[in-house]
């Protein structure tokens, strides 16, 4: 196990391992997404209150899940990078940010498009929506810091601190619908306890959630591989690899 982690932390091994994993993740993502879309848009019955409008759930909820999940990965990798000075962890954190930002944006916009017909407004300044918007700003701030600081180590350290401070926002987003009175409905799916949704509606949602997770895995590995090539450009193995490409 430890040797595996050690090898993973080595950019060269990471580069090759990621290269082998990407096609599996990508195909898994594509298959699950097709299944999830067919199930969600065609086979799932219309909601008894929201009719077919509820089908926005199949992009909105997975996008919102990913906005939180990717932030958690980013913060975790940042912590590992700070504590153990592992370059690969810094790379994973930095490569996660733009993906997380795009999913946060998608969650906000699809939520807005869902809110209009159901609540009568595109936007309200309530706890869930506002804390999710803050999450978008955290991602953008992180990316801004990365871009603004020339020295790579300083950039990694500064943005890692920001990422870790921002972790406080994650439980706030998650529990916002419980702690505050809000227009946003409560959780549909919960790990512990009974889900608040019919099985034929739930399965496509879980498929889409898994598909989005694999999508993130695919994209973050693609980005990280390129970052490895760039950072290790002086090493012998990259030079030989480049010659063979």
């Amino acid at each position: 196990m430890w040797t595996f982690i050690h090898r993973l932390a080595s950019p060269k091994h990471f580069y090759h391992l990621a290269g082998r994993m990407i096609p599996w993740f990508a195909w898994g993502c594509a298959l699950l997404m097709v299944a999830g879309l067919i199930g969600g848009l065609w086979f799932a019955p219309p909601d008894y209150q929201q009719g077919d409008g509820f089908r926005i759930i199949y992009v909105h909820v997975p996008a919102a899940w990913m906005s939180l999940f990717i932030y958690a990965v980013m913060a975790g990798a940042s912590a590992v990078g700070i504590i153990w000075k592992i370059k690969m962890a810094d790379i994973i954190a930095a490569c996660s940010a733009p993906i997380g930002a795009s999913f946060t944006f998608l969650a906000l916009v699809t939520g807005s498009l869902w809110g209009k017909p159901m609540w009568g407004t595109y936007w309200v300044w309530d706890a869930r929506l506002t804390s999710e918007l803050i999450l978008l700003f955290l991602y953008l701030g992180y990316m801004g810091l990365q871009a603004a600081i020339e020295d790579r180590q300083n950039a990694a350290r500064a943005s890692a601190v920001l990422a870790l401070v921002g972790v406080i926002n994650l439980p706030i987003i998650h529990y916002s619908v419980v702690w505050w009175n809000t227009l946003h409905q409560g959780a549909t799916v919960s790990v512990f306890g009974k889900d608040d949704i019919a099985t034929s509606m739930l399965i496509p949602l879980l498929l889409m959630g898994l598909a989005f997770t694999l999508f993130y895995a695919t994209i973050v590995l693609m980005r990280a591989r390129t970052a490895v090539l760039e950072q290790e450009r002086r090493s012998q193995w990259v030079r030989e690899l480049i010659k063979s490409l």
Binding site: V59, F215, L229, R233
Partner: protein, 56 residues
């Protein structure tokens, strides 16, 4: 769903549903294209470097 027209119509929510899915598609495609192009660019840059150093 029992017919294509019902599917397109989305019970009157067509605008909201299809705009959401359209945007999701745009976000996913952009996420695929960006690292693709970045990789091409980096490989091209490194290629030039290696060649330059070898002719020296």
């Amino acid at each position: 769903m029992s017919s294509w027209s019902e599917f397109i119509h989305m019970g009157g929510y067509a605008f909201y549903v299809w705009t959401s899915y359209g945007l999701a598609m745009v976000v996913l495609v952009a996420n695929v294209i960006a690292p693709w192009r970045a990789r091409k660019q980096v490989v091209r840059m490194l290629h030039r470097r290696v060649r330059r150093e070898e002719t020296k």
